[in-house]
Symmetry: C2
Subunit: 349 residues, 2 copies
Amino acid sequence: MPTPREVFLSALRRQPVPRTPWWVMRQAGRYLPEYRAVRGNHQFLDMVRDPALAAEVTLQPIRRFGMDVAVIFSDILVPCAAMGVDVRFEEGEGPKLAPAIRTRADVDRLRDFDAARDTAFLGDAIRRVRSELGPDRAILGFCGAPWTTASYFVEGGTSRNFEHAKALMHGEPATFARLCERLVDNLVPYLAMQVDAGADAVQIFDSWGGALDARTWREHLLPHVTRLVRETKARTRVPIILYVNGASQLLEVLADSGADAIGLDWRVDPVEARARIGSRCAIQGNLDPTILFASPEVVEREARRMLEGFAGSTGHVFNLGSGILPGTPVASMEALARVLGSVPLGGAR
Amino acid sequence: MPTPREVFLSALRRQPVPRTPWWVMRQAGRYLPEYRAVRGNHQFLDMVRDPALAAEVTLQPIRRFGMDVAVIFSDILVPCAAMGVDVRFEEGEGPKLAPAIRTRADVDRLRDFDAARDTAFLGDAIRRVRSELGPDRAILGFCGAPWTTASYFVEGGTSRNFEHAKALMHGEPATFARLCERLVDNLVPYLAMQVDAGADAVQIFDSWGGALDARTWREHLLPHVTRLVRETKARTRVPIILYVNGASQLLEVLADSGADAIGLDWRVDPVEARARIGSRCAIQGNLDPTILFASPEVVEREARRMLEGFAGSTGHVFNLGSGILPGTPVASMEALARVLGSVPLGGAR
């Protein structure tokens, strides 16, 4: 019987598996009472930078629900801080980055960081997770995609419309491209460091990629994402998942990136996605996370429907279509665990 | 030479036109200094309910830029207030509706309103616009789509994730359907009143429709939108535009609604949209509104590219892919007016 780790990695490689592996984006987080207990009065970024705390909350959902994959508790803005920009999370607001990066001089002032030294806490957290997790489950590392990360730099935080980032992209494409190049230069060794520490696969999060049409994504982002994927694979040999929230107009472009798997938001029909992506990539997703606010019966019904939508094709990793929402009932996650047939860490399958 | 009104209406009917007609969603608004001068200390909803003020700001962009269409200054939440829910716009925040509508009893308590009496200010504003606009330009009325309006009711305001509205839809579909039915019952006479007052066409705004996958939209919304379109057409005989922000996964479903035109956000490729929608509907859109934050040269280039993308097919109305953003430079709108070859109200073509 293959281990959960093997099932996950086989699915990412589009090899036959005895069951569908699963994990949930943001599975370590606020919907869990044990997370809130650990969180206490800690600042979010202080938890990310504390290997013991980060490892503990990474493991919590595996102990309770038994996902196949432990996604390391971290944040896509960790590299932004390491590149010399001040990153703050104010309670109840999105992150704030200062200064905003909007000119060629701003881009040039960014610092290249040494992942093993400047983000050592992340490697330490991954090693701690492996120690408790054992060899049978997978660890997933991650980073933000060039567009998403660049938009945080240019906007100085989250944005509703990305006016500044898009104006830079369309109005000063060379400066925008240089920003993306510097990001990729730093993200490749950052992902490689996570793999060196024990990550079995990595995910590139393009959380805001859905704000772009396919022509724009192909012209301004695909070269950078392709290089990020290619160089990371050359260094690490691990499978790479490219997740985009709002991907329905982008599927063909994303499949051109060379990623092993495409992570889909809930708006995309699984059958259509498989037809459009073809056999080039595995698919991860894509239950609407708001379904988890309905009753456990509805959650089970919709999760089964999702599995059936991907049935008959290899290469599916079950996930939500975006991160699990604060306030999600624990009973809904228990319903998912039942449907996926998973066994809590420490339990017997 | 056909009038701008005729050009717009012909394009909506997919008849040949000598040039592409245009207007811009939210064209009456905050990016204009003359709007801010009129707005002064008025509350937003007070302006909507004052026919003289609403007519004045409706006309402002036509005087300056000469669009073919005057979209009446109003709000999709006007019918919510008329149905007995308290609607407030706090400065710098989204609208707040109270009480939230979440149970069958809540739905039953909503009031059926008399559009000619309870929203007389809107009919008066349309008549005032016609008086100054003259017969040669079109007036567009509008309402919110069932999903978008229902989500405001259920969430009690704007929402990032629509947890409550989606949980109601999936968990208590009969209650959700009843809410949509009551909305359509009230929206048909509301749109008919606008046409009686002088509107040449109406647009149904599904601003949050992009939060749904196609199966969900087809199962839970299409019946209500189809009835809204069918009954409004039967009463008014005017063309109907169905606009959805985030429509890339929904095009085929939207075309099944019976609407004359589909309004597209900027993420959808025009050529692909035409291929997927076919000849059933005209297409309205779809320049990314953030392009208007780049230089006038970039705005002109991208607007021409957009026109070329739709070239060779009848039935295109130029617009942005979503509402014009606050802070948009007036020079960008001037660039659009140049590309579209429009003549300010009172000027000579």
